[in-house]
Amino acid sequence: MELINKIPDGPLDQKWTKYKNTARLVNPANKRSIEVIVVGTGLAGSSAAASLAEMGYKVKALCFQDSPRRAHSIAAQGGINAAKNYMNDGDSTYRLFYDTIKGGDYRAREANVHRLAEVSANIIDQCVAQGVPFARDYGGLLDNRSFGGTQVSRTFYAKGQTGQQLLLGAYSAMSRQIGKGNIQLLNRHEMLDLVVVNGKARGIIARNLVTGAIERHSAHAVVLCTGGYGNVFFLSTNAMGSNVTAAWRAHKRGALMANPCFTQIHPTCIPVSGDHQSKLTLMSESLRNDGRIWVPKFKEDAEAIRAKRLKPTELTEDRRDYYLERRYPAFGNLVPRDVASRAAKERCDAGFGVNATGEAVYLDFASAFERYGKQQATVKGLHNATQEEIIALGKKVVEEKYGNLFQMYEQIVAENPYETPMMIYPAVHYTMGGLWVDYELMTTIPGCYAAGEANFSDHGANRLGASALMQGLADGYFVLPYTIGNYLADEIRTGKISTDTPEFEEAENRIKKQIEALTQNNGTTPVDHFHKKLGKIMWDYCGMARNEEGLKFAISEIQKIREDFYKNVRIPGAINGMNPELEKALRVADFLELGELMCKDALERNESCGGHFREEYQTEEGEAQRVDDVYNFVAAWEYSGNPSTPNLHKEALVYENIKVQSRSYK
């Protein structure tokens, strides 16, 4: 199979304009008879569904949650990047493009990323027009903050709930179209298969989660906006329901899966508290604007803290190691996520961790309290303010900025982060890998598109903070509406697609059989047991650090768990009704196959880049070492019929505008 990425010719900054000017269009009358299925209603899905419906297509939107507004984009906290340069700090489209490519450790496509940077400013305009209440300063204009991996402030935010506000904006646009009858909403529905007819995506098989009915839905195009697969690790910052099933079933129908081993481990999450843990909670990267990360400089202090003989606030400055500021003076606490996560792991592995399990570092706001407090005292004309008054003023400013995050932390950990530093540790957060798509966001199956986190295209081997929201909305609002027409222009004569065909029949039967096999299995063990086992293997051998031996071990272990799963899983309840255990089992079945592919991909990539850190490939200082002459490609995997023997295809990455360098944040 040859991978054709369809990147338009011409200078980088004119490719998208050129594409838009030459893409084929579908006239309004024809649009009315063309159906599009959008699976998933996060930022990418709801923005795509809304935009396509506004254009006149007949849209069906599916979500497994009870409402589209609950998709996990809602949980994004810190912000959304856009090259507006409102701060006049030297930002530009090119700089956002450059930061993203560099942040992705030179493993993303130039043309896609530049397009993303180009449309970023439009996103902010669009969202404000929809009534998204971004943070504003006293002049009534939009405020910005900084995120990791950049030296400008280009992140727009709404306190610590930016994802929520953006999603509600897209959801409202979508609701408007549902109200008009242009979108048919199928909530509590899960896509279980893609139906391919004569090589083209022609519909899906979905399960109605309330009635258990297996339904056929046909369409002229299917758009998968189903998010990432971080839950393969069981413990992640993803929602409990986040899953890979739609993407994986498309993969099994012929869509290639690209760079599956590129997962992002987010440096600032609340550490694991016990075996019962069901998920991990992120503390926004925006906290690194004001929080300083440290561990004790001396092991005896770390031990004393772990034994609770010493409080972190009692440790003087000279006994603290602000290791990010020490190792990376240029970016300090705002290094990209992969770098920050690995640095935390390095310190904890070396014995400097600060919680009972030894897997936590401090995120400390003491100096921010003081800095903001002094600023406020000056503004308020309090020239003789005492230290306590200053700290109190500073805490108020911090509360204004991150109040909900501090409250969230206190709820979970039962410690007041205004009084004692937060404890944090890296956790699985985002997956840069995903379905392989071309410049038009089409997968290798004609008519099947993937947008948002579900595709692989824009973040390379590491995503910068506040860029996921940007990409999701860019794909849904501004890219797909143009590119999908280029395909659908050929579909105007197709007419209504029948679901009464052998292909739909076969797909439906396959799903029914799978459900029967799982539920009639006389097992004894709940689904979570297998999921947790898989997660542990993935975290230990395909997590923040990987090596050949571990990956090989993981592959054989996963195969064993998979076998065990099909033999011993128990799913109670009926199939013709609401059955959460069945839903989980269908998802875990796919994770058990994907996990193996991730390990294979990680094993194949004999270099370290971004979130993929192979211990065999590091510099003397412990930094990631790329092997550009061999691995400057996208690894796109084709399903062979057996999850253990996938076929690898390579798309070479060509850098015409950026000089590929070794990434340095020192």
Binding site: D66, A129, A158, R176, M240, P526, D528, G577, P580
Partner: protein, 252 residues
């Protein structure tokens, strides 16, 4: 974990919307105080499945208090005894050894039970579809985001209203089963922003009409909603909606 808590759980079990339901008692031991309430439910479900019984269905997703999916009425209160949190953020340290905990679904004519603790809240979606939006198409040609300054206090108030997670705790805890806090919050968000002005009148009329059609009760300003709201949305938003609706109807 040793020395965990022993709890008696009284849980509403109902097979589906049509079936009758009842409270069923379960004993659960070794509950760690560091568990979240939903993790405690996971442990109970794990035991039930291993015993060959059907697990308890409940809605949950993000487990960090933002998606609004979790929805349990715990010991007579929506999202349990703590303030400003959802069920998923409630931790077992809020309970003590030997406690009996009642766990019920949201009760409202507008929220029919789907199974066990799961209810159908699509009424909220339909209220949004009736007018909870600003009619602007995607184009990339809207005016610059900074073209209209919005006073910070208005932007902050709009944001506070917009933080509603649509969980339905307001309806569940209102003795009248009213949905006005939810609707009031959405009406307020747009009424406070300049972008929301052109459709101000139609929006409040249409949303209130849909709210009434969904079978929710009437608001008599009891105020339980704002106390039980996990996002502490103020009933000032209901007051604002009242004013908006009156103004909309008095205008020709």
């Amino acid at each position: 974990m040793e020395n965990g808590m022993n709890l008696t759980l009284k849980v509403w079990r109902q097979q589906n919307a049509e079936a009758p339901g009842q409270m069923v008692e379960y004993k659960l031991g070794n509950v760690s105080p560091d568990m979240s309430f939903l993790e405690m439910m996971d442990v109970l479900n794990d035991e039930l499945i291993r015993r060959g019984e059907d697990s308890i269905a409940f809605d949950h997703d993000c487990r960090e208090g933002i998606c609004g999916m979790c929805s349990m009425f715990i010991n007579g209160e929506a999202h349990g005894p703590n303030r400003g949190v959802t069920t998923c953020q409630l931790h077992m340290r809020s309970f003590k050894d030997g406690d009996t905990i009642f766990i019920e679904p949201w009760r409202s004519a507008g929220f029919p039970v789907i199974k066990d603790l799961m209810v159908d809240r699509s009424a909220f979606d339909r209220i949004q579809q009736a007018g909870g939006f600003i009619s602007v198409n995607t184009s990339g040609r809207t005016m610059d985001a900074n073209a209209i300054p919005v006073p910070k206090s208005d932007a902050d108030k709009a944001f506070d209203a917009a933080t509603c997670i649509g969980c339905g705790a307001c309806v569940a805890s209102c003795p009248n089963g009213s949905a006005m806090l939810f609707v009031g919050a959405k009406v307020s968000q747009f009424a406070l922003l300049p972008q929301g002005q052109p459709e101000r009148k139609e929006r409040v009329e249409n949303m209130v009409k849909q709210m009434d059609a969904e079978g929710f009760g009437n608001c008599s300003n009891i105020g339980a909603c704002e106390v039980q709201c996990p996002k502490s949305i103020s009933i000032e938003n209901i007051g604002r909606m009242n004013r908006e609706y009156l103004a909309a109807n008095l205008k020709p």
